[in-house]
Symmetry: C2
């Protein structure tokens, strides 16, 4: 409790200077100041989001610190991408677990620096502290978009079409593979799933297309079905999805074929950083042309209708019943 | 580890909606979206800062949740004030400790809502999750100021005068009083100190004055002497302070008189959310006139000189030697 310490290893001030200042942004004074200045670009809005990852909840204690840093950053970039925003700045709150050491911090900073460079992001600052328990990393990310182009999850309307990026379910099955590899899958397929779980690939290339075409959008980090329910509730609409249209990776498809229960896991398990969005029917042709330039697939999976709730139909046209439609990080887990 | 839970109490989504949405800002879509939109005011800069507080490190497990919320917010407002910025938005990352319950969240939200109202701040969003250990609350605060008026801690120059707001040492002695009340102090004096420790009073009224007069500025949350050292290092200067000029509350003064060791605690112990700043000699008269309108004292305590380091002189003109000049939250504490 704030009692004085004499045997500290390396002070917060020196740690920050050594590992994080090298990739700080212009307005951040080499992270030697209490805050940072952001000078907004004319006629642009800023988009702000903040998601934390905690040891034992969102990542494993023995995950490589470089990948923990990338995950902590990318879950936020996924939210920015879903709003159509181009990532610009991040602030880092680094809560050190009781078994921290300088090597952990050095590796963590290395991963974060790599991603900041890759995504063209400036670090504005933040703080470092001990949590008294496990590591807790909370990143705030700020992106930019032209004023008037923000895509919320509130704008979906009946007759619009539903699209999703990439493949669904890799994150949830990747978590399972991280715990115990699937016997029916090859080494490469297991690795693919684990990689999808460990290091999300935020769909930032979609941002401009969302600005032009999407009426509503969100990422599906808590699971496709539950997140679609949230989008529908926020927009005051319902949705119908055909499970046969939902894009699945070869690994997930193979696992579902061997045991059909995994379909539920794939559609509701979360940890997919893909984007779900809606488009007016008259814009679908132009959308599809724009999508063809992207380095990942985007698939039409269903339709918005009036009413409430989400129905997912199986190949026989029957409605699939889900035990639980999304993952929730705040509940009990014992 | 993200494994599915059936007996959760109240989902993150519902908790947020119930307790935090009522004081969300305009661009935050009742916190039902993944992010929030901030439309910058023309010709204004944004100032961003992020500081976390953790159970057992920055607050006691049995502190009232309302006060924990206010402390988590106000440590950030203090940083904004020190930069001359007017607080506008916050984002909240709420890491729930293993003994969380809905009453704790309700009380926490009540405290945060009160302060957001009092300071005119909009909540943009954030997230709620379980830490697996104690509570960890990381708030990102964003303020506004006219472009070109940001005050860093890098601009101090020789011959300038040093000022500090309020009284110094109340936070550090307040922490001690919170642990075991001082026998030599009255009930009221102990309460005063504890209150100063538990609920910082960020000096937001100083922001405009800093914009006009300060060459460098920072808050002294890690202790007056250590933070002054940081300001000097960042500015490439040295400083001389007379301890007799440092403003002390009656309670701290009384405790120092009874045992002189407490002077060191007061000047280096941290948890003071006061602002230290420098002003050119030719602007001191105008500054002093502006300061007279403030509801708290601001005191000239010393001078910037060329060189390196900070010297604090006692009443006999001798340099005071400090065991440790500032508090550091990241080190070992066993």
């Amino acid at each position: 409790m704030n009692s004085r310490k004499n045997n500290y290893q390396l002070s917060e001030f020196l740690l920050i200077k050594k590992y994080f200042a090298p990739f700080a942004g212009e307005g951040a004074f080499n992270l030697s100041d209490d805050a940072a200045e952001i000078i907004p670009t004319e006629s642009m809005s800023l988009v702000i989001t903040q998601d934390a990852v905690a040891e034992g909840i969102h990542f494993f204690p023995d995950d490589p610190p470089q990948l923990i840093a990338k995950k902590a950053l990318r879950v936020n970039l996924s939210d920015l991408a879903a709003k159509g925003a181009d990532p610009k700045y991040i602030s880092l709150s680094l809560g050190l677990g009781s078994n921290w050491n300088e090597a952990w911090i050095s590796d963590f900073a290395e991963g974060l620096a790599e991603d900041c460079k890759a995504y063209g992001i400036q670090l504005t600052g933040g703080d470092t502290f001990r949590t008294g328990g496990g590591f807790v990393i909370s990143i705030t990310a700020i992106g930019e978009l032209p004023q008037g182009t923000y895509t919320s999850r509130l704008g979906a309307a009946p007759h619009e079409y539903l699209y999703v990026t990439g493949t669904v379910g890799d994150g949830a099955l990747g978590l399972m593979a991280r715990q115990a590899r699937f016997e029916g899958l090859s080494v490469g397929e297991n690795e693919f799933l684990i990689d999808r779980y460990l290091v999300p690939n935020p769909r930032i290339e979609l941002a401009n297309i969302l600005q032009c075409f999407a009426t509503a959008s969100m990422d599906i980090s808590d699971g496709l079905v539950g997140d679609l329910e949230k989008l529908c509730e926020a927009s005051g609409v319902a949705a119908e999805v055909k499970s046969s249209k939902i894009p699945l990776s070869t690994a997930v498809q193979k696992q579902i074929t061997s045991e059909s229960n995994y379909l539920q896991t794939a559609l509701t398990g979360g940890d997919d950083y893909e984007i779900l969005f809606t488009v007016k029917p008259e814009n679908c042709d132009a959308l599809e042309r724009a999508l063809s330039t992207l380095p990942f697939p985007v698939t039409q999976i269903g339709e918005i209708i009036s009413g409430q709730g989400v129905k997912v139909f199986d190949t026989d046209g029957q409605v699939i019943e889900f035990d639980q439609t999304s993952y929730d990080h705040s509940g009990e887990n014992r």
